[in-house]
Symmetry: C2
Subunit: 194 residues, 2 copies
Amino acid sequence: MEKKSVESFKLLKKHFDEIIALTEEEFEYAASYFRPKKLKKHQFLVQEGQQSVTEHFVASGLVKAYYTTVEGKEHILQFAMENWWVTDYHAFYHKAIASTNIDCIEDCELLYISQEDKDHICHEIHKLEYFFRVKSNNGYVALQRRILSLLNQDAKGRYEEFIKLYPKLVQRIPKTILASYLGVSRETLSRLGR
Amino acid sequence: MEKKSVESFKLLKKHFDEIIALTEEEFEYAASYFRPKKLKKHQFLVQEGQQSVTEHFVASGLVKAYYTTVEGKEHILQFAMENWWVTDYHAFYHKAIASTNIDCIEDCELLYISQEDKDHICHEIHKLEYFFRVKSNNGYVALQRRILSLLNQDAKGRYEEFIKLYPKLVQRIPKTILASYLGVSRETLSRLGR
DNA sequence: CGCGCGATTGAGTAATTTCAAATCTAGTGG
DNA sequence: CCACTAGATTTGAAATTACTCAATCGCGCG
């Protein structure tokens, strides 16, 4: 294991520590089920049609998860930067074939785990089960907020809300891609600034 | 405890059984933290501004959770019918003041539990922690699907997708309310049929 | 029988999309 | 270091979708 991966595992430890208190042994045990991976910009974490998908903890970098329509338009389901988790959750939880793509907007360092192993460590360590329940709950609330934003805000409102909510992310995401997260055309988004 | 509540608890038991295997004692223990409540059409489960909210298991009936804008427009966050869970999840998880209203579209029988008690029984019974993690995961996936629907479908597409996904619900929900779930005006929804 | 709510229909308007073209920019190879 | 290219952004104009406002219709309930 090289230097950088060690760094990733430290971040994972800190990430768990924000919510639960694992012993050193517990963490080592859990960590042993994660594998490190480095990807460069434009490389894929998950590809449509893939048979089995793993969940990824982003230690560094930035990725986008998106669905591609038959007309070739991309719709961003989720961004994930440092300390975020990402996968095709439908495929992951239901052992289904991936219907989304996830690729790197920036070079990334990741830790990934299979669905079976995640369930296994959650079963072995109750605190982890709690951790992931809390994470999932928070994710649910975040998606509700996004839905609300889509329901009652126009293009400009959604853009401003995104800037307020994720000021750091805005800098790192090309406008074209942000447009397809907000559900507006890139031209419309471009016109909002003025 | 009257006859009807007994019925509600049986439904809760069956609901747990779909995912986990609780012993009789475990279920009785968990159930002791739930309280039954009957509400009539138009009565509230949760009201905006409320200090503390409980999570509700719907044993019978149908409710809607919605956010009201300053202009007085309602945006439906969620419907909940038999075997669904509902609350203001932001308020529930973060012990915050409710910003949404939830009221009955039909007469309802509910079982409700506080956030503290839910955490408590999840802590005591690992299988329940797992149960609610799975539920939350499924909820997350469902919201992602809804977001995708909002991003890439027009009014008609979203309506048809809803019908396909929740054929039973469509019958029970007034069009006006369904419109504010789909994010279209009631007039537009009305024009879709033709 | 009439009231009131929900659903429908029409007409004009506003927001956003689409298509097309012009700019701008960052990274690449010479 | 500079020219070049691919991708991203901006701008313009026309077309489309959905909204708003207003009026009407339909129906169940008291």
